[in-house]
């Protein structure tokens, strides 16, 4: 002890400046905190001011009895056999559309991913190939910046109410997203074996198949099921357009105020989502891909060389679980059944009528024109969109802060952490309730939340923000809960061994990294939320989505082009700023 105390203090240079860093001053820390607070508070204050202008009525009192009637029937869902048959059929259609759309997205993703990845090219590709890759990258960014619901609306004007509309609306934006993820995945595969095969004279495709497929198969499979899970949610959402499935039935029942049917359909949507959700989560666990944050967080949470990433990339051990093998075998027959059940025919794509209508649509879309009211109307819609996204994220973060700590699976700590049975059971019950609530929030499409919100609130930013916030809260809550499960607890355990109380140790050791994860995912979901404002706008909330729906309804296609361009610009700007902020926040 005395030896330790007598040791000469470490010189300031060795502790701080020696490592090339200037020590942070207290003033700098305070300034940084104030800036952070301002970045959070100022947009929320501005968005609230925009959403709730002074002197305007927000609550539509005439709608309150409707809301009461809706919730009054929650315990009396429609259960007559004819209607239940209809629900089962609609659920089948939803699954079929989602499955076919996902397979289409995977095909695009696989091809696009190979073209975009660096590993697939032996040397630096020649300039024409580089140009094509750049062009493809831009096209994919543009395609995924348009929401699947907007794609569906555009396809409806060419193909009519054809099942192909739902499939294409899923395939295109999901395919663009998948291509980006697959390209990153392929580039993460160690290049040694590929180089070895190429230098032994293998054909490029054979060498790629031999080296990339076995290595990335576990990740490809789990990502395929994650995409399927998202596709089921999106297909329900597409019901607004009228292409069939549970979503359409839900919209019809809502519009005809058949609340008993609404609850039956909500139950069916929840059941379907829960089943697919559980399947997908189980697969990811078996594949050693710990959480869906792997896909949703843009691969930013993990150290690429870290042991978990290594394990995920290797797909060792549990990746050969019977569940994973069974899932792999079910893919092809499942797709065939879905294809037959969906009644999709590709003939519609090449028919003379489609060609004629596509030509006319493209003619009509160009040149773009400003909406009625000109630039002020357009900029007002852009600001409404941003305000809606900011408020939606505030709602989502509030839900996450309440639910995620409860929905996080508790991990066994040190041996001194043995908790008595009764509190453990209570904790387990809370866990189930929190998980179930998050599932309900994310399974009910935001359009339905918006329709419900519009029963009691006048159209505007607020109902849209509320609807999106509830939906996003369901997703963000799960993302953050799963991410928190992977927070390193060694520091907490070390504190426990040093005699610190459990609560204090958890607070000190796990809250800072957890906060960082919450901020990262909040920023990431904000980028998505901006894109999804179109969805609630389409059912009458506000922002660019509402203008888009109004102009599509009266076939003012030049204005639609301008609105799509504005949406793209807003999404791209948000993505660039969000990415910068996320990068700046990296530890």
């Amino acid at each position: 002890m005395s030896q330790l105390l007598e040791r000469a203090p470490i010189p300031a240079d060795a502790a701080g400046r020696g490592s090339g860093r200037r020590p942070a001053t207290r003033r700098q820390v305070m300034l940084r905190r104030l800036t952070g607070l301002l970045i959070v508070v100022a947009p929320i204050a501005w968005a609230l001011h925009r959403a709730v202008p002074a002197g305007t009525d927000l609550v539509n009192r005439g709608g309150l009895p409707l809301l009461a009637a809706l919730f009054g029937d929650i315990l009396h869902p429609a259960l007559d056999p004819t209607f239940l048959g209809l629900v089962v059929h609609a659920a089948g259609v939803t699954l079929a559309f989602a499955a076919v759309g996902t397979v289409g997205a995977l095909v695009i993703g696989m091809l696009g991913g190979l073209v975009l990845s660096d590993v697939a090219w032996r040397h630096r590709p020649p300039w024409p190939v580089r140009m094509i890759r750049l062009l493809l990258r831009l096209v994919l960014v543009a395609v995924r910046s348009v929401h699947e619901l907007v794609w569906a609306l555009l396809f409806v004007s060419v193909l009519g109410l054809d099942p192909l509309v739902a499939v294409l609306a899923i395939t295109l934006p999901f395919g663009a997203q998948t291509a980006q993820v697959f390209a990153e995945m392929f580039d993460g595969v160690p290049p040694g074996p590929l180089r070895a095969l190429r230098s032994a004279g293998s054909r490029p495709t054979s060498a790629l198949a031999y080296t990339l497929l076995p290595k990335s198969a576990p990740l490809l499979l789990s990502y395929a099921f994650y995409r399927f899970e998202c596709a089921v949610r999106s297909t329900v959402l597409l019901g607004v357009v009228g292409v069939g499935g549970l979503g359409q039935e839900l919209v019809v029942s809502l519009q005809s105020r058949n609340w008993n049917e609404v609850w039956t359909l909500v139950g069916a949507v929840l059941l379907l989502s829960a089943l697919v959700d559980l399947w997908s989560t189980r697969l990811r666990t078996d594949m050693a891909v710990v959480s869906c944050t792997e896909w949703s967080g843009g691969h930013e949470q993990r150290d690429p060389g870290g042991p978990e990433e290594e394990n995920a990339m290797r797909g060792t051990g549990r990746s050969r679980s019977p569940w994973a093998r069974w899932s792999a075998w079910v893919v092809l027959p499942g797709f065939v059944v879905a294809w037959l059940a969906s009644d999709v025919s590709l003939a519609g794509l090449t028919s003379p009528r489609t060609q004629q209508l596509t030509g006319r649509l493209l003619d009509d879309l160009w040149p773009p024109a400003l909406p009625a009211g000109g630039w002020p109307a357009l900029s007002s819609a852009v600001l409404d969109t941003l305000a809606m996204a900011v408020l939606a994220m505030a709602v989502a973060v509030a839900i996450t802060l309440m639910m995620a700590p409860l929905a996080t699976t508790p991990r066994r700590g040190t041996s001194t952490d043995r908790i008595p049975l009764a509190p453990r059971l209570f904790r387990g019950l809370l866990w189930w309730l929190a998980r179930a609530l998050l599932l309900v929030l994310r399974s009910v499409p935001p359009t339905v939340w918006a329709v419900v919100a519009l029963l009691v609130l006048f159209p505007g930013v607020l109902p849209g923000a509320l609807a999106l916030g509830l939906y996003t809260g369901g997703i963000l809550g799960r993302l953050v809960a799963e991410a928190w499960e992977s927070v390193d607890t060694r520091a907490r355990d070390a504190l426990r061994h040093a005699g610190v109380r459990r609560g204090t140790a958890t607070l000190i050791a796990t809250v800072p990294p957890s906060t960082h994860q919450l901020l990262t995912y909040t920023l990431y979901r904000f980028e998505i939320c901006v894109r999804e404002t179109a969805v609630v706008g389409i059912v009458g909330a506000a922002g660019l989505g509402r203008l888009l729906a109004e102009n599509l309804a009266v076939f003012r296609f030049p204005v639609v082009t301008a609105l799509l361009a504005a949406s793209f610009a807003v999404s791209a700007a948000t993505e660039v700023i969000g990415r910068r902020l996320r990068r700046a926040m990296r530890p």
Binding site: P193, L197, G201, R203, Y210, K215
Partner: protein, 248 residues
Amino acid sequence: MSSPTPVVKMSGVGRSFGGHRALDGVDLSVPAGERMALLGASGAGKSTLLSMLNGSLMASEGVLEVFGQVLADLSPSALRKLQCRIGTVNQRLDLIEQVRVLHNVNAGRLGTWSTTRALVSLIRSRADDEVRSALHNVGMGWALHERTERLSGGERQRVAIARLLVQQPDLILADEPVSSLDPARAAETLELLQAPARGSTLIISLHQPELARQYCTRAVGLREGRLVFDVPTAELDNARLADLYTLP
């Protein structure tokens, strides 16, 4: 009577990476059947030279011929055909981890297979006599359907050599195959390499002069990218080696 075409012929071959000259004006001729050791300190240019010989890297200057063909003049498909005759093995072994041993051995002849056959072979785990015999020759007959990631380091080395056996290359390039192995394992690996090298030309980069003397007939020394000696291994003396491994 004209002498047979050498397997490798290098005339003034150089290679730069940015401002760094990894290989500088190397002249070398390797006749068929030669057992040649490449010696030199780390960073001397041995790996660069071997990568250029198998067509993974192109020369920045000079002319490099393999089997009488100038590599820089070959079309991608002609280069691929030529590469089928060149087998490479290195310290990392570069085996595909997630597949069975059978697939890794099959990978040696992917160059002669169509893409369809390659894809089908990934799904159908059936081995022919050639694969069985290759694995048997390296003492790994039992491991045909074993998953590669479960093998030990020594077993993986044997699989890499079985891959060379089914490829049946005319030129074998071994890039420091024994640098991280204990003496007994190093000798065993070089013994195993003799089987695929039978009737072929072998160029092997080594850090152990005694192994060069034991398994090769010719030694070439590289220092800072330049060829500093080219002698029969019998003439490999300490003075040359000291010069080769002295830090600048």
